[in-house]
């Protein structure tokens, strides 16, 4: 059996080549000028570029608001779906996941068109609505998974010991469901910062998110500056994953 561990070697080689090396290259390109000399110029350019900085701030703001809205709307939904008293069939859960099978860009375009037809001007409001619309299932699903697997007797015990159902919910159920909320946040927050097509469609290009300026730079062959922007994003990812100290919990929540 011991030799079995060698079976991971092909995948490790693959990961080093297609995951680690590309990330190293992002860093290398970020600290190089177009001639290939070392420079801090790309990062300096970002930190002195007012437009890029304000885009960055807007992206973080939109992502925070989107994540908060997804938790506020998604948690009750996940709780109801996981509660046998209210929902007996698995079909309802499938219904929440099914829209994800339809191309996200097409759904976003249809949402934008629906707004235009209803006479709502495309802007910050429609952007947030569309974002919540696209990412809500990613918040509901992990929370639902954790809640459905949770041992109900903990909350029942709290009630037996004199807690009101409300206290039992806040002191027992919510803390126990945090792994699900955490993986929901991971699946909503960073993707929101980095989307480009969705924000373009939902605001008619009025509001740019961070992903859009990365894409614009890469596509106009400004690879080094684009890589520097991607590097900034990598650092934020590093910071957000630090909050999630327990990796095993993340895995439990995802599938």
């Amino acid at each position: 059996m011991s030799k079995r561990s060698n079976w991971s070697i092909p995948y490790v080689v693959f990961l080093v080549f297609f995951v680690v090396l590309p990330l190293v290259l992002v860093m290398v390109y970020a600290f190089q000028d177009s001639q290939g000399h070392f420079t801090l110029g790309n990062l300096a350019k970002f930190f002195t570029d007012k437009d890029a900085l304000s885009t960055f701030a807007v992206s973080i703001e939109v992502a925070l608001e989107n994540t908060a809205l997804c938790i506020l709307l998604g948690y009750p939904a996940a709780w109801i779906l996981a509660n046998k008293q209210y929902n007996k069939s698995a079909v309802t859960i499938v219904l929440f996941i099914m829209p994800m099978w339809i191309n996200a860009l097409m759904r976003t375009l249809a949402t934008a068109q629906l707004f235009t037809m209803l006479g709502i001007t495309l802007g910050k409001g429609t952007l947030l609505f569309g974002m919540v619309y696209d990412y809500l299932p990613f918040m509901i699903y992990p929370i639902y998974n954790v809640l459905a697997k949770m041992d109900k007797s903990y909350a029942e015990a709290a009630v037996d010991l004199g807690a009101t159902p409300w206290t039992a919910f806040w002191k027992v159920t919510v803390p126990l469901s945090m792994p699900g909320v955490m993986s929901g946040i991971l699946m909503v927050f960073m993707p929101t910062v980095s989307t480009f097509a969705i924000s373009e469609f939902l605001t008619n290009n009025k509001i740019k998110l961070f992903g859009t300026i990365i894409q614009e730079n890469i596509n106009s062959s400004m690879w080094n500056y684009g890589a520097a922007l991607a590097f900034v994003m990598l650092i934020i990812i590093g910071i957000t994953t630090l909050f999630d100290k327990d990796k095993e919990q993340l895995e439990g929540g995802l599938i």
């Binding site: 990961l15 680690v20 099914m98 097409m106 299932p137």
Partner: protein
């Protein structure tokens, strides 16, 4: 009363969630160029789509073909690579196991755009010309971790003695693998394959950065370019409606089958 509000809340969310899809479906039955203006009932767009007679838009069908082909190949390779890797990781110990698990987590934590840009830089750096192969490799990169995560729990649930017993009873390791290990891992492999297939189908950003300049389009990149040019190809509406129906029917069939299976088990 509580139950009523709980149900109401779920239904309101579902209605909002499905509104754009219903919107597309309704306007797939009119001929207008723009989504949202009604020009009388017609099934013309469906005819155009099914006969492939679209004015200058034959590339839509090519994009659909590419999308499915890429997803099938990427999902198949990911399932193979991920299952073998999961068996390996399961038999590893200590630091090495932690390190590989950490590496496996990176593509899942990275947003699409980082995966796309970093792979783009890799292919540029290696002077590797971009096209089908690079898109498929990129899709395998972000799909395989999900296969590993789907297969791992099955390995943990499995009784290792069964495999040992097969060897003791004279099976060669190959036979034991085929007859004992694989059947037990199959549910995990299937859900991994489905997960990988859907992720590949829905991907936009990674494809966008790794498809190169040979004019390779998947459905996502086709829609993106189309929308940026202004005006979507009207035939996209019936296409989306049909995809939606196929998914709906598939899910209904799966659910009915699962229902029957669980009833059979109860009756036994």
């Amino acid at each position: 009363m509580k139950k009523f509000f709980a149900k109401l809340y779920i239904w309101i969310l579902l209605v909002v969630l499905y509104a754009p899809l219903v919107f597309i479906a309704i306007f797939s039955f009119t001929e207008s160029k723009v989504l949202g203006s009604w020009e009388g009932f017609s099934t013309h767009l469906y005819q155009n789509l099914l006969t492939g007679q679209m004015q200058g838009n034959a590339s839509l069908l090519a994009a659909v073909k590419n999308t499915v082909l890429i997803a099938l190949v990427a999902a198949a390779v990911s399932t193979l690579l991920g299952t073998v890797a999961a068996i390996g990781i399961h038999n590893m110990k200590g630091r090495a196991k932690k390190a590989v698990t950490f590496l496996n987590n990176i593509p899942m934590i990275n947003p699409d755009i980082i995966t796309g840009v970093s792979l783009f830089l890799l292919f540029v750096f290696l002077h590797f010309s971009q096209g089908y192969l690079t898109v498929i490799l990129a899709h395998i990169t972000f799909c395989t971790p999900y296969v590993v995560l789907s297969v791992m729990p099955k390995l943990q649930q499995m009784n290792p003695n069964i495999y040992e017993a097969a060897l003791d009873l004279g099976a060669t390791p190959q036979v034991a693998l085929r007859k004992v290990l694989v059947p037990q891992l199959k549910p995990g492999m299937v859900s991994g394959f489905i997960l990988a297939f859907t992720m590949s189908l829905d991907d936009f950003a990674v494809t966008f950065f790794t498809r190169g300049t040979i004019g390779l389009d998947t459905l996502s990149t086709y829609i993106y370019t189309d929308a940026r040019k202004g005006g979507l190809t009207p035939e996209l509406r019936p296409l989306m409606t049909l995809i939606f129906l196929v998914v709906l029917i598939l899910l209904v069939i799966i659910n009915i089958r699962q229902d029957r299976l669980s009833k059979l088990k109860e009756n036994r």
